[in-house]
Amino acid sequence: MRKSTRDEAIWRFLGYTFVLLVTLLMVVPIYWIIVASTLPEQAFLTAGTDIQLLPGSHFFANLEALQARESVDFIQSIGNSVFIAIVYTLLSLVLCSMGGFAFAKYEFTFKEPIFYAILATLTLPIQLLVIPLFLLISQMGLTNSYWAIILPWAANPLGIFLMRQNMKQIPDALLESARIDGATEFQLYYRIALPTMKSSLAALAIVLFLFQWNLFLFPLVVLNQGKYTIPVAINELVGAQRVYYDQIMVAAALSIIPLFLVFLFLQRHFVSGILAGSVKE
């Protein structure tokens, strides 16, 4: 008895230490970006000598310098990114959940080959797709429009896969009983499948949002100034004559805020066990 409590304490101690370490690893870079954004450039670039760990008072000066730039309107690029990522995420959630539902709950010809073909597209790196996609988009006359960034990955293969795996958990009996009660197939999807998938949808939303938020090469090639997303706008700060680290830090720090809000908003939807007790077997 005594021995086992001691073991438990040791394990708990190790567990906490590990979690603490991981937390530190994740928080420190973000903390540093925020600190760096409040310092003049030379204060955080002085290589190794004395590292500044406390925020300074230079944030607004850096921000002003960032906003004074002709070739990048950073605030607008945040707006662009937020708009694109939100529309993309919502659209993609609909398409992925519909696709996932079909693959999980229906039988149709060539179901397996189609599914694996979709899955196989995951192996194609974006860099490889940029040029064919740009051609497609420009032939559609969509260059320099938000749709050019939103549509190509709207039916995200990873999303379809994840939704299929999750929707397999929905008991067939549940769908059957709904059918008997007179529900249409579409009602099965949005009144039964979707509500039970809330936490998976929230998780997928974060993945999709991040995916779109981080896209760099494709938006750079397709969009023109004024419609740039955040990663492209930040890269504009790498000039031929200078790298504007101070402004890059402010831009990076500001671009964390929308992501932070999205996480905050979605984390309350992570509820599990919504299906518990839905059917009696």
């Binding site: 030379q42 670039l45 659209l91 032939q139 006359g141 709207a154 949005y190 790498v238 200078r242 790298v243």
Partner: protein, 462 residues
Amino acid sequence: MTDSNRRLDRRRILQLSAAGLAGLAGCGTGSQPATDSSGSGDGGSGDGGSGGSSTETATDGSSGQQMASSVTAWSWDVAAKSLDLIDEPYEEANGGDVTVEQFGRSNMKDKFKSRILSGSGAPAIATMESVDAAAWVDTGGLRDISGWIEDAGIKDGFVSGKWGPLTKDGATYALPWDLGPVGMFYRNDVANEHGLDLESVETWDQFIAEGEKLPDDTALMNLPPNDYDGVWRMMFRQLGGLPFTDSGAVNIHSEKSLRVARQMKRAHDAGVTSSVASWSSEWFNRFADGSITGLYGGAWIEGTLKAEIGDTSGKWRVMKPPAYESGGNRATNWGGSNLVIADQVSDAKARRAFDYMQFALANKEMQLKMYRENGLFPAYKPAYESDAFDQGSEFLGGQAAGRMFAEIAPNIPSYTYTTDTPEITKAINSEFKKMISGDLTPKEAVDSAANQVADRTGRELA
């Protein structure tokens, strides 16, 4: 879940589906032949579109010499500003309109390369650094302008060393713009204060010996850890070193490269160098407060310094880079750009583009304009006849540096860039980092860098 909630969900889903359908419908209508609002096939502020532009080619066929009324040019920073300078005089003289769009440098390169690879949406004119030439030419997206250059009879006007990278299999893909003959810029006031005699310095060894007179907190020159390769390349080229042999074998472990590595290591071990990331504000600040005295850089760097740390005007001087031995070559190069024409634009646009390029680059007056305003050192030799090169620079305390650089320019050994140049950059940077910190000897560093490049590119070792 309450009823109202559920209804909200349903409504949202319906809205989204509607949005999705609208999007798809948009694709449908858009897929008809490029309904391009601007009508420009050269990517302008534009929607790109019109890859084929068959109609325009047809009109060209009949007349043969038509020129489009307007074209777009892509560039970055000072280069974009310089093109802007030319825009108005060109419009007055030749009547065409050129829109210059300014980008971040790496953004512009990625964007332009993707667009020439995809064959649509590129501007007619773009700025290309010589170092990128091999990679860009390899895309097959640049127009061969050798015929036009020959017709215009302007080839001999340019410094001969510029043409190598721009030519492949007898075709020429760019018109040379500027080059960067290298000088050793230094803070004269700091040198005087500590009794350095840099004017009589001839060799690297003498240079380092002078540096040892400086106090500990003042460096003679900087070795930027993010750009060892830049320093290496300048010093290597000065010795006439070539990174690849004629047959394409990797040659960065040659005797010449080893000499450069040893020289850099010696400077570091003598304690006369600093290690500040180049192009950072700290870099500029250290030159501004004089705690780094010397800057080994292309002629154009004077313009950069003037723009960033104008307060130090008059305190600077420049000398030819030290030689390896007394009487050795003191000419090398850093940087240099060219203008290219995308192959995908119509003949009419390409003709306008070339007309503009010729006006801007093969033109003494315009080259001098860009030299005076932005410090871009012309590759067009007739410009050197101008007394603009004999005029003392206020920033350099009245020194006529232009003349010195104009003397260096024709002696710059030529150099080879290939699509594998980026591998060399990476290998030199990573291995020299280990060498400077003492983990590798100079010999091991160059050998290891050469092996790395050979491994990654499948090339032979020389």
